[in-house]
Symmetry: C2
């Protein structure tokens, strides 16, 4: 059976991607990263989904990045900006080189277990401000990944041209349990509804004439 | 002043590279990784050299890789092969995707402190068996690195075509303190003289008609 590693954050995008891989008959192993992010509730969602789907789940603690790298997502003394992002506040939520760090560790894991692809949930909704979420970057990184070992591993990022509402639409065919996906940037028991991620998610469901199953289940 | 991040293992190659960067008037910050390797004596050498040269030194613990990835260098239950490597025993000392993992974290660090280059000690002596030490791999990875953020960082690997004896020869011009560089794959108080790395080092000094200053200082 063909084998895949997925970087599964527990957010909407990577969760849809996990269901897509299972739908494509991959034997999937999930890897997730705790890097000191405040929105760590997503970690529990990722674990829950894997348990439900019988997928092996590995959480890797790379919270040393908190000390090493600068970002509002990881530093305790900086507040997450509310409402829609402006370029300057949005830049604060960038963890420098995060996608390359995640991908490189996931590729090492894939090489260890003889998987042939590493799936990443990068998508068109990832804004202009994140250069490491763009197709050009993923293509170039993939060229390095494919020759980094004798056992060939490739990056797989099929959501790259989809916005959030298109990804939600994919759900209709794959039966993703969105009531268990977490995308709020804050800590609370329920999503704050105010941060950029909450607003984007709300818009995505609205565009599909749906109510968010997570909010409906509260 | 132009700023550089160096991945400094404390081994011969990266130590020479550090001296080279200082010689080129870079303000250098060093980053090193503990990934569960048995030859952790090199870590002390790296710290010592940085203290001596007034270079900021950061040690990052990524020993979760020990659990995640397979290699004789990190697994307690596998012995390091002695004498010159054969292809199959040498393959055992590969930590999957190690160079990409190190580079990606170092690049994130460089982006945080506005450095413009990440220097890596990969060299021509790194054998055929390590695909992620080859120039083709470094070039492709660099293309991804350079577009991963708005602040451009490039990889710098000037030793890529040099063998160990050429690198030792560079020392003659840069006054590297080789008595403080550690390259043995084993734990002992003194280098074992039997592992592949010890033998390669011995040969490099011999080719330069020199005695290894580390052995001379014992």
């Amino acid at each position: 059976m063909k084998k895949a590693v997925i970087v599964l954050s527990g957010w909407l995008d990577s969760t849809v991607l996990l269901y897509k891989l299972i739908d494509e008959w991959y034997d999937v192993c999930a890897i997730n990263f705790f890097y000191g992010q405040k929105h760590s509730k997503e970690l529990k969602c990722a674990e829950h989904i894997c348990k439900k789907m019988g997928v092996e789940y590995t959480l890797v603690d790379i919270s040393f990045l908190k000390k090493l790298l600068n970002s509002a997502l990881t530093k305790d003394d900086i507040d997450i900006p509310e409402w829609h992002y402006q370029a300057d506040t949005m830049k604060m939520t960038v963890v420098p080189n995060r996608n390359m760090i995640f991908a490189s560790i996931a590729v090492g894991y894939a090489q260890s277990i003889w998987a042939t692809i590493v799936a990443l949930g990068v998508h068109g909704g990832d804004h202009e401000i994140y250069p490491d979420c763009r197709e050009d970057f993923m293509q170039k990184l993939n060229k390095a990944v494919e020759i980094s070992d004798r056992h060939k591993v490739s990056l797989y990022y099929p959501l790259i041209h989809m916005d959030k509402s298109t990804i939600v639409n994919v759900w209709l065919h794959l039966w993703v349990d969105f009531a268990k996906t977490w995308t709020c940037y804050k800590w609370g028991e329920i999503p704050c509804g105010k941060c950029w991620s909450c607003m984007e998610r709300e818009e995505a469901f609205k565009k599909n004439w749906m109510k968010d199953p997570l909010l409906a289940s509260l």
